[in-house]
Symmetry: C2
Amino acid sequence: MAHHNNGMTRDEKALMQALSRAISVVPRVLDADLQRDQQLPLTDYFALTYLSEAEGQRLRINEVATRLSMTISGATRTVNRLEALELVARERSASDGRGADVVLTDVGLKRLKAAWPSHRDSARRRVLDRLDANELAVLTKALNSIGAEPDDFDSTDCPPQS
Amino acid sequence: MAHHNNGMTRDEKALMQALSRAISVVPRVLDADLQRDQQLPLTDYFALTYLSEAEGQRLRINEVATRLSMTISGATRTVNRLEALELVARERSASDGRGADVVLTDVGLKRLKAAWPSHRDSARRRVLDRLDANELAVLTKALNSIGAEPDDFDSTDCPPQS
DNA sequence: GTGTTATAGTTGCCCAGTCAAGTAAATTCT
DNA sequence: AGAATTTACTTGACTGGGCAACTATAACAC
């Protein structure tokens, strides 16, 4: 019953619990808010946002993937969805014919502008309003420092047993 | 009210960005670590953990769902997976025949014990080692306060701390 | 008792996103 | 130049999990 010494402390356990709760809950509620108000999935909204901020309102697929923290194939499918709605267009890159630039369309920009207030309010209600300035700063720094590989050991081979 | 009439401040934007990155990345890396080392999905690992901590090592499906922050149907499927591996068993509840208790089996407990060091190390490497004591405390509190509905939610959601 | 409503789970259907394999253009090697 | 390799996606197969509809039991009304 008791904690073993080589385990986590109570505080560490509490953090991991809080983290896994937030990880499940936050994206769901933000997405639900946006879907309800704007019929736009959160991922697609973010993709539009990143495009709107990009030079020439265009990004390569892999840049979309990076910004969304998803795989390239995931980004491909996201762009497919947006393209079907004509919120973005694919343009074969002049400089590199292997892949396409994803370009924000006028419709896409309008859609983004229309969705923005809703997402902003949602983010305030669900997240921002509940944090004071200090928490905001610490949280931002802390969240940015977790997750990524400490130092890449990708060449890990198969575990002992087969 | 703040002094920005329309958008978010730079800091607020940075937070939302950090949050959405962490939300994508953290579960993926923790899950990948555990799958690689223990062939056990993170969700299933957490389910086993909650069962091991429960009175009589048993929980109703809906309690599993609550702890995992997922829907009841999601929890049903998680339990199905675990049951197929014989890590848990369903037992029709004596007191309420509508549903089942999910009981941790001996095999399940062994599996959990075997997986625990791996998950602990993973959590340290990916998360805990990168935070100092103050960050840990602030982050825990902050993460616990975000997400849930502001309007109509039970104050039981705000966890007391000792 | 019978009928009605509420509750606990399960199941069918769907969607987003991952991985691995495939394709096509670009780059490097010889 | 042509072959080999690397890069930049795309696609097929699959998985996890959500929603809504359904089943079975329980509880309440009469």
